[in-house]
Amino acid sequence: MDILKRNLKASLAILASLLIMSGTIALALGNVAFASSSNTVTANVAVEGVCYISLSPNAISFGSLYPTATHADNVLVTDSDPYGNVAANVLVSGTDWASSTYNFGVSNTTWSATSSNTFLTTTQLTNSPVPTGISIPAPSPTVSNGITSNSIYFGLSVPGAIPAGTYTQRITITNSC
């Protein structure tokens, strides 16, 4: 009788532990199933402001000029921002005009935001970069090609009595944003 009772107790204990184990497993599986069904990933990105520069043309020829002659500010350079998302301000600077034998000053070149036929409304080019006040607007995604641009015009005044020759200057146009 005692043996029977002991066996019954043992079997009941085994059954209870089996039930508890199966419940735990079911709960765990349920949790896994629940987590996998409702898990979400939050993605974020910080888009930085950028501006670009693309000039056209990359060289200016003022042609053949005589001493004291002026070439009015009507040589156009287009400054474009093809991929940017913020407005850019245009700065300009240049080097002295140089030939193999003689140099003349950077200030003989002038720049202007508008085309003109007179040197009165223009600004002399300098060695150090200066803000021109010309701005390239921020390209907009609503615009078809998303490119914004603006223009800068250059002119030249040749000093008197300089040796004949081929003179070269380097102009630097930079966008700042």
Partner: protein, 239 residues
């Protein structure tokens, strides 16, 4: 019908050429922002600028740093350097250029301001003989504001170490001096105690001898008396 085909083909060719032009051209750009650098007098400040090549061809570049100007007279302008100062930006990638600003102390006071331009210029434009060559680039207008000099912690730490060393040396000197005195006192006391102990032993011995003589006297034997010193002897000795 044939004309339509030709027109479509021409348009396709034009489109592909425009695509090719857009893709192959180098596009130099920069991340927006022109922060003001607050630099300690006699201190250095570092900042990383990001420059981008959005095109499919590499862009050889050089950096140009203009002199920094201020309205304050006789001030010493900051020394601004860029690293790397030249190089090549690979296609469709970006580079960081570290700008370092050192602000000398000579004639500079807190609150002074300087402004200068830092340019990264496309260096690929070949030299042209006759006329003007136009270089394109991107620029940053840098403003430097002087801050009071940072306290020199090294000097403070060194002076603190020296002060601690002096205090420790003085403390140990006082301690060892006191210890020496105490030791001397202990030795002296020990000697005194020794001498006292010796004295007491002598006394006991005399007491013992006295008691012995007493006992002898009681037995009838005479105790040898000490000779009284004569004045003559003393005089002789003195001579």
């Amino acid at each position: 019908m044939r004309f339509n085909y030709i027109a479509v083909a021409a348009l396709l060719v034009l489109f592909s050429f425009s695509l090719l032009f857009n893709v192959s051209s180098a596009q130099l750009g920069e991340v927006a922002g022109e922060p003001t650098f607050y630099v300690n007098i006699s201190g250095t400040y570092h900042y990383n600028y990001t420059f981008i090549n959005e095109g499919s061809t590499p862009i050889p570049f050089k950096t140009i740093m203009t002199s920094f100007r201020t309205s304050a007279k006789n001030s010493t302008p900051p020394v601004v350097t860029a690293d790397p100062s030249y190089g090549t930006i690979p296609p469709n990638s970006q580079i960081h250029i570290e700008v370092s600003v050192y602000l000398p102390s000579k004639n500079n006071t807190s609150g002074m301001q300087w402004q200068g331009v830092f340019e990264v210029v496309d260096n690929s434009t070949s030299n042209k003989v006759g006329g003007a060559v136009i270089n394109e680039g991107v620029a940053k207008i840098i403003t430097v504001v002087a801050k009071p000099p940072k306290p020199n912690y090294t000097v403070y730490i060194l002076s603190a170490i020296i002060a601690i060393a002096i205090v420790a040396a003085a403390g140990s000197a006082v301690y060892f001096k006191g210890r020496g005195k105490a030791r001397a006192r202990v030795i002296r006391e020990a000697e005194v105690a020794k001498s006292r102990a010796a004295g007491s032993k002598k006394g006991k011995a005399t007491q013992r001898s006295a008691s012995k003589s007493k006992s002898k006297r009681s037995t009838g034997k005479k105790k040898p008396t000490r000779k009284k010193s004569t004045g003559k002897k003393n005089v002789r000795k003195r001579r």
